[in-house]
Amino acid sequence: MTELSLESASTVPAARGAIGSDLRMQRVRSAWIFLAPTLFMLAVVAGWPLTRTIYFSFTNASLTNLSGAEFVGLKNYLSWVTLKSGRTIFSGLLADPAWWGAVWNTLKFTLISVSVETALGLIVALVLNAQFPGRGLVRAAILIPWAIPTIVSAKMWAWMLNDQFGILNDILLGLGLISQKIAWTASPDTAMIAVLVVDVWKTTPFMALLILAGLQMVPGDIYEAARIDGIHPVRVFWRLTLPLIRPALMVAIIFRMLDSLRIFDLIYVLTPNNAQTRTMSVLARENLFEFDKFAYGAAASTMLFLIIATITVLYMWFGRVNLEGER
C-alpha cells in the first residue's frame, strides 16, 4: 500500500496540472523523505527475507548448509527426465500432488471462512450500528475473541472439542442433539469444520469492526430521506447501505483473504497432520524445517507468495477496489 500512496502523492498534483513544477518537485521530494523510514523497514523485514526465500528456491540449499547452496535453476519447481522406454517422469513442486492438495485445502478454507465471516460480520456490524443502551460495552466485548492470540484460542478450542472430555460434546449430548460423542478433530471431514468454526469465531469481530467503521461514514440524512419516501428497510439496505459501505467491505475482505490464505496455526494445532487438512503454509514449514528439503520448502513458500499475490491482484482488478479511500 506504500507504493499506492506514493503514487498518489506524485500523480495527483500532476493531474491537477495547475501547480508549478518547482513546488511539485519539492512535494515529491518531501514525500520520498517521509516515506524513506517506512520503505527502509519494509525492505529489511519483508523485502530481504522474501528475496532470500526466492533465491533459495532456485538452489539445493539444506538447513544445515545454507551457505553452500548451489544454483539448480527451476528443479525445485519442475523438472523431468525421459526414460529409455520413452516415459517421461515429472518431479518438483508443480508436479507434486501433495502440493496441489494443500493448495486446494487452503482455497477451500479461504472461500468458506471469508464468506461466512463477511456475512456474519455484516450482521454484527449492522446491529452494533443501531442505537441501544450499553452499545459501547457490547462493542468492546465482541472484540475479545480477536484479542486472544490464535495459538491460545486454538489450544482452548482443542480441549473444548476433545471427544472424551470436551464441553462441546457434553452440551450437545445433554441437549440430546447427538447420540454419541463426536471426535471433532480426528476425522478429516469434521476436522475442517472444526477449524472453520474456530476461525469464524475468532475473526468475525475483526470483519464486524471494519464494516462498522464503513457504516459510520454513511451520512444519516440519506436514511432520513429514504424513511420519508417510505422505502422498505430491506431495499434501503441493498440500494443504499451496501453500495455505500462497499469500499470498506472490499478492503475488509482483502485483509481476511490475505490472512486466511496463509492459515497455519489453527490447522497445525487442531488437526492431525494429514493430507486432508494440510495447507500451503503447513506444507512449506514441514519441508523447510522437518524434512531435509529446505530449498523445496522455499519453493513452496515462493509459490504461496505468488498465489496470494495473484489472487489479490485479480480481486482488486475485478472488484475495482480503491485503496485510496475515494469512490
Partner: protein, 418 residues
C-alpha cells in the same frame, strides 16, 4: 534494597571467582518431568556453582525437532545442552560435539546397544539419559472381576477389550472404552504402527540393509486389524490422540487397556489418579504365537551443541544427567527405564517400580525405527509412513492400496541410495 544490592555484588564476585558458567538446556516436559529436571538442575548448580536455565519444549517430538533444527541451523549459542530423541542422532550429528573422549570413563557402564544408537560414524553424538519401550497397561482389577487373563495376541486383546467394554458399559460406565493408543498423524503413530507390523512378522518399514519392505501382506493385515479397532474398542478420537490424551482417558479410569511408554506408570500410581494400584503392565501382544513381541525403541539423550561457548561445563551437565545417581532417581520418581544395566538389580527401584526388572529384556529386543538407515531422510520416511497409516485408519483406502502407494513414494525418496 541496599542489602539486596550487596548480596548481588557479592554473588557476582563469588560467582566470577569460581568462573561459573551459565548454561541452558532444552528439554521436553511431559507429566512430572519438568519438575524433576528442575530439581536435578538445582543439585547440579549447588554442586558446581554453574547456573542452568531450563528451556521447556513442546510434548510432541516432531515439533521439538523442528525447533532444534532452526536453532542449530542458526548457530544458536544460547542453548548449550539439547535433550534429544533416540532417532535424531544421525540427522543432527554434525551440529553436536563428539562426546567420545569426554565420556570414555563412563560409557562402559551403559548398555552397548544404547551407546551404539547414539554413535554416528564413530562419533558419540549424545549420552543416553533414559531408554524407553512401550507397554500395554491393563486394568488388573477389571480382568480379575470378569475372570480374564492378560492377552498374549492382538486378537485376544481385541476380544478381551470388547468384552470388558460391553460389561463395564452395561454396568453404567457409558464412556468406557476397551483400548486406547496413539493414532494422531505424528511420530508416535510411526511407533504404534511399527509395533503392529513388526509383531505380525511384517518387517520394519525399511530394513537395516536399505530395502523398502513395507508393502507386504502381513504389514497390511496388521494395519487393517488396527483399523477395525477404531470406533469399536477404541474411540474415534484416537485418530487425534498423542500420548497425553491417551493417558487422560486411561488415568480417569475410562479404558481397560492402553499402549503407552513407561512414564505413565508412575503417574498412574500418583495420588490424584483414579486407577492408583489397579493396573499393571505387560509386553505388547503379537499377531500369532511364535511372533516376536516388538516395542519401538525410544529413549532420550543429552547432547552438547557445537555452538555452545561453555562446552566444558555443558559436558559436565550431560554426564551428571546420565549419571547412575540421577538415572536412579529418574527410575524411582518418573518410572523411566535406566540405560545402565546395574540399576535393574537395584533394590530401591525394584521396590518403587516393580515392573522394571522384567523390562530389561523387552527394551533389549526393542525394534529401532529406520532412522539409522534413512539418515537425513528419516523424518520424511516417517511422515509418509504415518500418513499412509493414518489414511487407512480413518477409512481412506485399504492398507494394501496405501502401502502400495507408499512403496512408490519411498522408492522415489530413496533415489540411488538412502
Amino acid at each position: 534494597m541496599k542489602l539486596l544490592a550487596t548480596v548481588a555484588i557479592l554473588g557476582a564476585i563469588v560467582g566470577g571467582g569460581a568462573s561459573a558458567a551459565e548454561l541452558s538446556i532444552a528439554a521436553n516436559a511431559t507429566g512430572k518431568a519438568a519438575e524433576f529436571l528442575r530439581a536435578r538442575l538445582g543439585e547440579f548448580e549447588a554442586k558446581t556453582g554453574n547456573k542452568v536455565n531450563l528451556v521447556t519444549m513442546p510434548a510432541s517430538s516432531s515439533e521439538q525437532f523442528g525447533q532444534y533444527r532452526l536453532w542449530l541451523a542458526a548457530g544458536n549459542t544460547d542453548v548449550d545442552v539439547y535433550q534429544t530423541d533416540v532417532i535424531w542422532a544421525p540427522q543432527l550429528a554434525d551440529q553436536f560435539v563428539d562426546l567420545t573422549e569426554a565420556t570414555k570413563d563412563v560409557t562402559a557402564e551403559f548398555f552397548p546397544s544404547v551407546i551404539q544408537s547414539q554413535t554416528v560414524n564413530g562419533k558419540l553424538v549424545a549420552l543416553p539419559m533414559f531408554t524407553d519401550a512401550p507397554a500395554i497397561y491393563y486394568r488388573k482389577d477389571l480382568l480379575e472381576k470378569y475372570g480374564k487373563q492378560p492377552p498374549k495376541t492382538w486378537d485376544e486383546l481385541e476380544a478381551t477389550a470388547k468384552e470388558l467394554q460391553e460389561k463395564e458399559r452395561a454396568a453404567g460406565q457409558s464412556d468406557f472404552w476397551g483400548f486406547v493408543f496413539q493414532a494422531n498423524a505424528y511420530e508416535g503413530l510411526t511407533c504404534n504402527a511399527l509395533e503392529w507390523i513388526k509383531s505380525s512378522g511384517g518387517g520394519q518399514i525399511v530394513e537395516p540393509d536399505g530395502t523398502i519392505s513395507v508393502n507386504n501382506e502381513k504389514a497390511a493385515a496388521a494395519i487393517d486389524r488396527a483399523r477395525g479397532w477404531i470406533g469399536t474398542i477404541a474411540p474415534e478420537g484416537v485418530l487425534a490422540y498423542q500420548e497425553e490424551e491417551t493417558r487422560g482417558v486411561w488415568q480417569t479410569g475410562k479404558a481397560a487397556f492402553m499402549r503407552n511408554w513407561p512414564y505413565a506408570y508412575a503417574l498412574g500410581n500418583g495420588d490424584d489418579s483414579a486407577i492408583k494400584g489397579k493396573f499393571d503392565v505387560m509386553p505388547l501382544p503379537v499377531a500369532a504365537a511364535g511372533d516376536q513381541p516388538s516395542s519401538s525403541l525410544g529413549g532420550w539423550n543429552a547432547a552438547v551443541s557445537k555452538y555452545s561457548d561453555e562446552q566444558e561445563a555443558a559436558i559436565e551437565l550431560v554426564k551428571f544427567l546420565a549419571s547412575s545417581e540421577v538415572q536412579k532417581k529418574r527410575a524411582v520418581e518418573l518410572s523411566n527405564l535406566p540405560t545402565l544395566p546395574a540399576l535393574y538389580d537395584d533394590a530401591d527401584i525394584a521396590a518403587s517400580q516393580p515392573f522394571m526388572a522384567s523390562w530389561k529384556p523387552i527394551f533389549q529386543n526393542a525394534v529401532p525405527r529406520p532412522s539409522a538407515v534413512a539418515k537425513v531422510k528419516y523424518n520424511e520416511v516417517s511422515s509418509k509412513f504415518w500418513g499412509a497409516v493414518h489414511n487407512t485408519l480413518s477409512g481412506n483406502g485399504s492398507a494394501a492400496e496405501n502401502f502400495e502407494l507408499l512403496e512408490v513414494e519411498l522408492t522415489e525418496l530413496k533415489g540411488d541410495a538412502w
